[in-house]
Symmetry: C2
Subunit: 391 residues, 2 copies
Amino acid sequence: MKIKAKACGEFAPVYPVIVPVVTVPLAERSYPIFIGDGLLSSLGRRCAALKLGSRCAVITDRNVAPLYAKKAMASLVAAGFNPSLITGPAGETSKSVTMVESCYDQLAKHRLERSSFIVALGGGVVGDLAGFVAATYLRGVAFVQVPTTLLSQVDSSVGGKVGVNLKAGKNLVGAFYQPRLVLCDLGTLKTLPKREFRAGLAEVIKYGIIYDAALFARLEKDLPKLLAGHQASLASVVARCCEIKAEVVCQDETETGLRAILNFGHTIGHAIENTCGYGKYLHGEAISIGQVAAAKLSAEVVGLSDKEVDRITQLFVRAGLPIQIKLSATQRQKLMAAMLLDKKVSAGMVKFVLAKKIGLVEPGHKINPKLIEDVLRVESPIRASIVNRKS
Amino acid sequence: MKIKAKACGEFAPVYPVIVPVVTVPLAERSYPIFIGDGLLSSLGRRCAALKLGSRCAVITDRNVAPLYAKKAMASLVAAGFNPSLITGPAGETSKSVTMVESCYDQLAKHRLERSSFIVALGGGVVGDLAGFVAATYLRGVAFVQVPTTLLSQVDSSVGGKVGVNLKAGKNLVGAFYQPRLVLCDLGTLKTLPKREFRAGLAEVIKYGIIYDAALFARLEKDLPKLLAGHQASLASVVARCCEIKAEVVCQDETETGLRAILNFGHTIGHAIENTCGYGKYLHGEAISIGQVAAAKLSAEVVGLSDKEVDRITQLFVRAGLPIQIKLSATQRQKLMAAMLLDKKVSAGMVKFVLAKKIGLVEPGHKINPKLIEDVLRVESPIRASIVNRKS
C-alpha cells in the first residue's frame, strides 16, 4: 500500500494555509499525522474533533514544559477541555516503571475517566512513556501525540509502539497502542538543541537505507538545508518519513514480519544505550553507530557494496553523528550480553536487519557474535577503508 | 451466541476420562477452558500443544506455591519446557505496580523471549497480576491461566481482563489480554480455605442473577452439595459459569456494552475493598454486599420484586457471605468518594447494573448518590424486610 501525504486546507490565520496530512490506515484505528509550522495552537480544536470527554492530561518533561506547555494547555482550555499537566524529569532515565506509576497516581488524582485522553507533549521518551500510561490506565484511554523533536516526529510518535525501560534493557516493557492523532509542529524544532536535531537525522537516514533510495539521495543533496532548519525541506522530509513508517506499520502492526526492518541498526544501538547507561548516548547517536555497524555486517553477509557502505558512513558523518564506539574488552562483553536481552532474540540468536543495497533491506539474519564484535572494533579489520572518526 | 461445554476424551490414566471444555470464541484469539479434577498434571502437555518457545515462567504466590508449584513445574519440565518460578506474597496487596516491576526484572533475568510464555498459577490476584505482566512484557508474551480458586475459575481467569490496583482504587491499571489456555483443576479447590470457597460462590450466584434464572434456582437447590465439595455438581456449575462468561465476553470483548453486566454488585464492592484497605474483605465478600445493595437499588429503580430481593439476599446468607457493612459517617463518605473513582464513572455519575428480575439485568443506570447511601445503611429504610444479618 502506497501512502501519500495530502494537503489539508487551513483557514485560521495563525496556521499555515496548507498542512500535509499523512494517514496511518489501520481500519477503525486509523489516524492522521498533521505536519506543519505552528500546529501546536490547533491542538485543542483537533482534539475536539475526536469527540472525547472533557478531562485530559498533558504529559511532558521539564525541558519541554517551559517552552510549550502553556500553549498546549491554553489551546485545550480554549476548546473546552479540562486539562491537567504532568511534568516529569527529562531524559531516557524517566522512561521507567517508577515514572509510569507516578503518572498513574496523578491521573487518578485528576479523576481521568475512560472517555478522557492523554496528550504526550515532548520527544520520544515522553511519547513512549505517556503512550504506555494511556495504553494501561483504566485498561486504555485515548492518546494524542505532539512530538517536539525530529526523532519523535519521524519515528516514535507514529506506529503505536509505546513502553518503558527496565534496568535489564531498553523498551522491555510496553504495548502496541495507536494514538488517535499525531501533531508534528515543525516550529518546535527551532528550539531543539542541535545535538538532538542531528540525532533525529539518524532515523531520517534510516528510512532512506531501509526503504527509499531516492530519499537517501535527496538527503545527500539537501542535508545542508535540513541542518539550517529550512522549513519546506523539513516538511517534505518529515512527511516522507511518516509515509514510509505508515506504509510499514499498516502492513505489520505488531511486528510479526516486515516491521522488523524499522529496527535496522537498533539491535546494536539499544545495546550501546543499555551498556553505557541510558542518557549518555542519545538514541539517534547510538543507532547511528548501530547502522554503520549493520552496514559493515551487510557487506560481509549479504554483499552490500563497499561504495554504499561508504555512502552510508559519509552521510552519518556529514550529519554530525558518531559512527564508532571505543570499548574496553569488558565493555564489549557487556554489550554482547545486552544484545542477547534484545526483544528480537529468538532461541538465543540475535537477528539482524541487513541491507542488500541502499533502499532494500532484509530482516531475520542470524549473525555470529564473533562477527558483531569484529565490526564494532574501532580498528575494525572489516571495511577498514571507511572514515575513521572518533565518536 | 450460545456456548455449550463439550466433552473432551482423555486417555492418560491420571486424568479423568471426560473433561468438559468450554471454548471462548474470539476468532484468532479463541481459547479453550478445560474443567476437571487433576488437570494440573496435564499442564505441560497442553502448553506443548500451543507450539510456544521452551522458556517460560510460572507466577504464583506463597499460599499456592507449597501446594502446587512443584507439580506445575514438573509437568512443564516433563513436556520439554525450561520453566522458572516466580513466587510473590499472597493477597490483594500484591496486585501492585511494585510487584509487576519485580516480575519484569525476574523475567529479564530468566531471559524470557517473545516466544516464551507465562503461567499464572493461583487465584484471581495471581491471574490478574501475571496476565498484566504477560500483556506488557516485551509488548506481550503468551499466557496460560491455571486458576486454583473457585472465584478465579468461574470469573477472573476467563475473559482477558488483567491488571493491578493503585492506592487510589482497584484495577485502575490493566489491559484486555486473552490467555491462550485456561486449566481449571477442580482438585485444587479441595485445599482452598472455606472462606475463599464461599467468596467464589458470590461470583457464581452473580451469573444466576445477571444471566440465568435456571442456574440461580439450581444454586438454591444444590448449594449444600457445592458447599460439601461434590465434584460433579462443581464441574457442572463451573462449566455453566464459564459458558456464560464466554458468551458475554465474545459479544463485547472490551466492555463497550453488554460486558458491563458482569459488574453487577462490583461498583459498591470495589469501593468497599478500597475503603477498607485491600485484603480485609475478600473480593467475593465485598461484591456479596455490593450485590445485595444493587438488588435493593434495583427494587427502587427498576421494580425488582421484594420476593426476588429476598431470594437473592437469602442465597448469599446461605452461602455464608456478608450482605451488609456497618460504616461510620466518615467511612460512608470515603466509600462514596471511592465510588467516583470507579472506571465505570462517566461525567462524574456512577453507573449501575440493575436487575429487573433474576436472570435479567440492565447496565448503565445513573443513580443518585443519596439513594446509594440509603441502601448501604445497616438499618436501611429501604427494603427493611430483608434478613438483617451482622456482617
